[in-house]
């Protein structure tokens, strides 16, 4: 049963159409990614979900609520981390957490939250003195302080160093384990691939594709490449039967096979029947990023 339903969403600002026609469902408890290039309409879409903007057309239901009409109820169950929103320079971390906790009916335990986010040493530090990563973690803490059922995180790891990014990802995994549905807006494909159960790829205000990252990659006809040394020479004819195989090339003692679907499993099975072992195997699967480039690229060429 979907917790968020977006149906034919349309939103324009003046003459600019930000969101043209966006529909998707988000299931309870999943990490749902919204990916797309800058200016694709990702942020506008989530702002409509959170009730910050009024859609021009289309309907949105969040946990049975209408985000505009049932604003107060929605605020209790939806936590949001916004792109580029800051706090007062001289507000201390602990004061910000106390203040935001007072807005909710059953707030999270602050000590637990700051522990999980590694902010326990920073409670009496002023916001203006925090590093970029610490500000981002505080922002996540404030999005989670009301124990939301849904957390919307917009460009969560932009501007973080690789280590901080990985720490944040681990944190998102933890939050999901507590049953929180997470809507993640990102333009990092690696992030979407690593975290999301499903993603909606948005371009120019329209949904290009929705599905699991791996499914999107293979639906885009994504190629896989395997390279290996066979334990002994073999006749390539044995592989001809396989629908997964596209091309076979030999570079000296190395064999390179490209194909789709369960390429690796099929090839290894056939070769082992023929008494050939696959050694020094290297396998490359084109990623969500490749799928993204090919899907968005197609849309651009239309």
């Amino acid at each position: 049963m979907p917790i968020i339903e977006v149906e034919s969403l349309h939103k324009r600002y003046g003459d600019t159409v930000a969101v043209d026609d966006v529909s998707f469902n988000i299931e309870d408890g999943e990490i749902f990614g919204i990916i797309g290039p800058n200016g694709a309409g990702k942020t506008t879409t989530v702002e409509c979900i959170a009730g910050l903007r009024e859609p021009d057309r289309g309907s949105i239901t969040v946990a049975g609520l209408n985000p505009r009409r049932d604003r107060d109820q929605l605020r209790q169950i939806l936590g949001m981390q916004l792109q580029e929103s800051e706090l007062a320079e001289k507000l201390k971390v602990g004061e910000a957490l106390d203040l935001y906790a007072s807005f909710y009916e059953r707030p999270a335990e602050i000590s637990q939250l700051v522990g999980a986010l590694g902010l326990e040493d920073k409670l009496s530090t002023r916001y203006g003195k925090l590093s970029g990563g610490q500000k981002q973690r505080l922002s996540i803490a404030l999005a989670l302080i009301g124990r939301p059922r849904i957390a919307v995180l917009d460009e969560l790891t932009t501007g973080l160093d690789p280590q901080a990014r990985r720490d944040t990802w681990a944190l998102i995994d933890e939050i999901r384990c507590q049953g929180v549905t997470i809507v993640l807006v990102t333009h990092f494909m690696e992030e979407a691939e690593r975290l999301c159960d499903r993603v909606a790829m948005i371009n120019s205000g329209r949904v290009v594709s929705v599905g699991a990252p791996a499914a999107l990659a293979s639906a885009a006809g994504v190629l896989q490449t395997m390279r290996f040394h066979p334990s002994r020479p073999f006749d390539a004819v044995v592989l001809d039967e396989l629908s997964e195989v596209n091309t076979i090339t030999r570079h000296g003692s190395t064999v390179e096979i490209t194909g789709t679907g369960d390429l690796l499993g099929a090839v290894v099975a056939v070769l082992s029947q023929a008494g050939v072992a696959v050694e020094q195997l290297r396998f490359e699967q084109r990623s969500l990023e490749d799928a993204f480039v090919s899907l968005i690229g197609e849309a651009h060429h239309e």
């Binding site: 959170a50 910050l52 107060d72 605020r75 209790q76 939806l78 936590g79 949001m80 916004l82 580029e84 929103s85 800051e86 706090l87 007062a88 001289k90 507000l91 004061e95 106390d98 203040l99 935001y100 007072s102 807005f103 909710y104 404030l142 009301g146």
Partner: protein, 246 residues
């Protein structure tokens, strides 16, 4: 929104304002110190000042000085900064409405203005025997209308300024002519008739004589109260209409 939320917000905003030393200096300490300076310079009655002493003349000016700093300078900068940094937008994602933040900031500013004015009056009374207002009701009406006019102007600046920098600049640029017409450099009593007429139509130029009159037992002129009420009404209506949350 319930009371607990608002109280917590109010306490937080008060703490933040108390962390601004420049604001406390110009908004509270400076008018009090200046009252002492004027008290030492002249507590004798002077014909040129309509029979008042220098400190008598400057007590209302110092009261509106604090109003001017906090309402015209501090409020627009604070609100425009909150808008620019996304603080208002951030709050609008929580059960609290961002309007509450504006309410809290106006409340804190009003509190600070009240403290500063009380200090000015107490210092003037204790150190220089300036008489306390004898028309108390008229005095309160004049103060409330003056405060309302100035806070509304501050809100209007915050509404039209597109950045925090601009809000600060506009506030500062307005503050000095307003204080001039309040008689900070030349007492109203010594201004030429043209300047005095202009002064009557400025917010602080209406506030100062209105407050002054009540100190000596009379009810403030209706014309002064009317000028203040018009500023309060027009500026607040415009501010509500023009205020942008982002």
């Amino acid at each position: 929104m319930n009371r607990v939320m608002f109280q917590r917000l109010l306490a937080t905003e008060a703490k933040l304002m108390l962390r601004e030393p420049a604001l406390l200096f110009w908004g509270v300490a400076f008018p009090v110190v200046l009252t002492v300076v004027f008290g030492l310079a002249g507590d004798k009655h002077d014909k040129a000042l309509g029979g008042l002493s220098l400190v008598d003349v400057y007590v209302p000016v110092m009261m509106v000085f604090s109003m001017g700093i906090l309402a015209i300078s501090a409020i627009p900068t604070t609100l425009a900064t909150y808008r620019e940094r996304g603080v208002l937008r951030r709050l609008s994602t929580t059960p609290l409405r961002p309007q509450a933040l504006l309410g809290a900031d106006f409340t804190v500013a009003t509190g600070l203005i009240t403290v500063a004015m009380a200090l000015v009056v107490i210092v003037a009374k204790v150190a220089f025997s300036v008489q306390l207002p004898s028309q108390v009701l008229g005095w309160l009406v004049a103060l409330i209308l003056s405060g309302a006019a100035l806070l509304a102007l501050g809100a209007l600046i915050a509404s039209v300024a597109t950045s925090a920098r601009l809000a600060t600049a506009v506030g500062t640029i307005l503050f000095f002519p307003m204080m001039f017409f309040a008689g900070l450099w030349i007492p109203l009593q010594q201004m030429g008739s043209t300047l005095r007429t202009i002064s009557h139509y400025t917010p602080l130029g209406a506030a100062v004589p209105a407050i002054q009159q009540t100190m000596h037992g009379s009810w403030p002129d209706v014309s002064h109260l009317l000028v203040l009420a018009v500023y309060a009404l027009v500026a607040s209506l415009l501010a509500v209409r023009l205020f942008r949350w982002e």
